[in-house]
Symmetry: C2
Subunit: 226 residues, 2 copies
Amino acid sequence: VIEVDDVKRHYVTGGGTVKALDGASLTIERGEFLAIAGPSGSGKSTMLNVIGGLDVPDSGEVMVEGKHLGEMRQSQLAALRRDRIGFIFQAYNLNPVLTVLENTEYVMMLQGKPPAERKKLAVDVLEEVGLGDMLDRRPSQLSGGQQQRVAVARAIAGAPAIVLADEPTANLDSTTGQELLDMMERLNRERGVTFVFSTHDPEVMKRASRLIRLRDGKIESEERRR
Amino acid sequence: VIEVDDVKRHYVTGGGTVKALDGASLTIERGEFLAIAGPSGSGKSTMLNVIGGLDVPDSGEVMVEGKHLGEMRQSQLAALRRDRIGFIFQAYNLNPVLTVLENTEYVMMLQGKPPAERKKLAVDVLEEVGLGDMLDRRPSQLSGGQQQRVAVARAIAGAPAIVLADEPTANLDSTTGQELLDMMERLNRERGVTFVFSTHDPEVMKRASRLIRLRDGKIESEERRR
Ligand SMILES: Nc1ncnc2c1ncn2[C@@H]1O[C@H](COP(=O)(O)OP(=O)(O)OP(=O)(O)O)[C@@H](O)[C@H]1O
Ligand SMILES: Nc1ncnc2c1ncn2[C@@H]1O[C@H](COP(=O)(O)OP(=O)(O)OP(=O)(O)O)[C@@H](O)[C@H]1O
Ligand SMILES: [Mg+2]
Ligand SMILES: [Mg+2]
């Protein structure tokens, strides 16, 4: 369902050229539960951004559900992300002026889901991540881990086909992190949602059915498990 | 060096009253290397904010180096933080318009350290956290873990008496996280810097000489190690 073909992405800074991705290729089947590990700065966030069409590689191809991202117009890319992909950002990127509930409903609203339906879906997922009694708070009234969970809820509330999660448990205690993984695994198993997540957490890596290791923008190794 | 006496801090939200800290007391000796653990939302960030004078409790007392924070004027509190305390925020709070080097030098500049000296101290600590070749970048040009390391560098560059670190390794791979802890331990051992950090990471907890567990705004348990 996702095809990354010899993708390169570099940045030119004052100090020189940074190769965020340096010829990475990856095929992800529908329904996979894939973890991307690697040292800080190895290209994990860049990889997720490129897969999700949020960043454009300098060379190489990315295909999602049979479509070449590089050939799509901005509006088509936006529609693909809105309808097919749920994104959990490393820094959460919640809208500070919206409540927890409104933040979670946001994408479903863009999709045109009716208010009653999107509210129910949002409330259900917020309860599942333990935030059911914080619907009316704003992000500044939440702890770090609570903000992270809203970011997760927002990405999965509409049960997208693909979830791209950038370090989804970084600010969570191990119990809450495990509960989140249980929920992600269940969505994966029961609804066939494809999960691709970056992580530094060995506990999260253990739960992946496949583990990719990045180093200096390249895929260093790969293991299949269960 | 730090005395927290029956501190309470609540928030009133639409949904009711949240007891972020609910009668917590803690004494921290000079030179300690103390970890605060606890579930998401248990009050760790609030505890650090109250110790650092960034937040005012509703009741109870906080004393830092013999001074009652509650009796100090804003200017005195600001001077205490600037001169005696280094703070690593959970969301880093880097200044987006300053470079990595400028962000790291910032507190030392407020302290009136001469340019040559603060630059040397800043460059040294940035090299120690592996960012020596990123001095002129801005936060938006860094990975999540690189931003976290700048936040650490900024807090410790001037070797403050006390460092309050809110989840300093959350976005770091285990190697980089261990290197950071090595550096913090060395500052603690060689220069007597007092460290108080919150964490979810069992590896970080293991390295603490004392571990406090919070739950629902109260201290649930405490262990001394080594
Ligand atoms: N401005 C606010 N308004 C209302 N409630 C708040 C506010 N700030 C924090 N809280 C609440 O206070 C409690 C403690 O928050 P705190 O940030 O200290 O938790 P934490 O232990 O640091 O959590 P985490 O591990 O998720 O970072 C949480 O329940 C949080 O929702
Ligand atoms: N806008 C930018 N300008 C210059 N370099 C950048 C920019 N964005 C990212 N980089 C660099 O690209 C490399 C890969 O960054 P990326 O964010 O993908 O790493 P990561 O694996 O997600 O790291 P972390 O685990 O710290 O989040 C890093 O060396 C980073 O400094
Ligand atoms: Mg990243
Ligand atoms: Mg916190």
